[in-house]
Subunit: 101 residues, 2 copies
DNA sequence: TAAGTTAGTTACTTACATGTCAGTATACCA
DNA sequence: TGGTATACTGACATGTAAGTAACTAACTTA
């Protein structure tokens, strides 16, 4: 459309391109997970980073945080519709990666 | 496919997600450009960053650098097939950005 | 009472990315 | 000889991202 810089495109890149973000979304794409579960599926990532990313993704409306006051507490992270709509992007990246890398 | 980390996916993110990369590719998607042209279309980016990204993209086989020894010298940057195959990814991101941001 | 569980937080450090700006090489033109 | 143009490069400073590891809070079980 416009040959100048599209702020929405840039904003999207800023959300999606951060380290760990894609992986976290991919894990949650399969099923709703607890903090612990995500850690176990992405063991390279520190707790600190996971907590930071989850907060960002929540504030961007990509996932919701559900707290169940059991003992010990259970916190589940679930993609929203907005979050699930990222799937085609990740699929395209995966496809490109498999063809060209 | 695999719920663990896919190194190809990560490698793709590493290439595509860097600051300015998407914008540079988008500019070159429209037409082959000289260094100067790209600068003018992305004025926020410094020359230093542009030169660095162009080198990276060239070494990743996403674009080719053609030198015409005229006076003054003309250097044109052109997407390869691999580079052009990134278009669907950028389109998906653009689409998502327009629907959700 | 001590240890375990979940879900974080905080402080500190290191690494890497980016910005700024001056300088280079080559060739032309006045 | 000085100025202009293109396409960079290099040194340095700053800023941001990420890693490490210890700590907290609430509650339960041994």
């Amino acid at each position: 459309m416009n040959r100048c810089i599209c702020p929405k495109f840039e904003a999207a890149i800023e959300v999606l391109a951060k380290k760990w973000t894609g992986l976290i979304i991919r894990v949650l794409m399969e099923k709703t997970c607890r903090f612990r579960d995500i850690r176990e599926q992405i063991p390279q990532m520190s707790e600190r980073m996971l907590a930071e990313r989850l907060k960002e993704l929540e504030s961007n409306g990509i996932l919701v945080r559900n707290v169940y006051p059991e003992t010990p507490v259970r916190v589940e992270y679930q993609l929203t519709d907005k979050g699930r709509s990222i799937e085609p992007i990740l699929d395209e990246i995966q496809h490109w990666a498999e063809c060209h890398l």
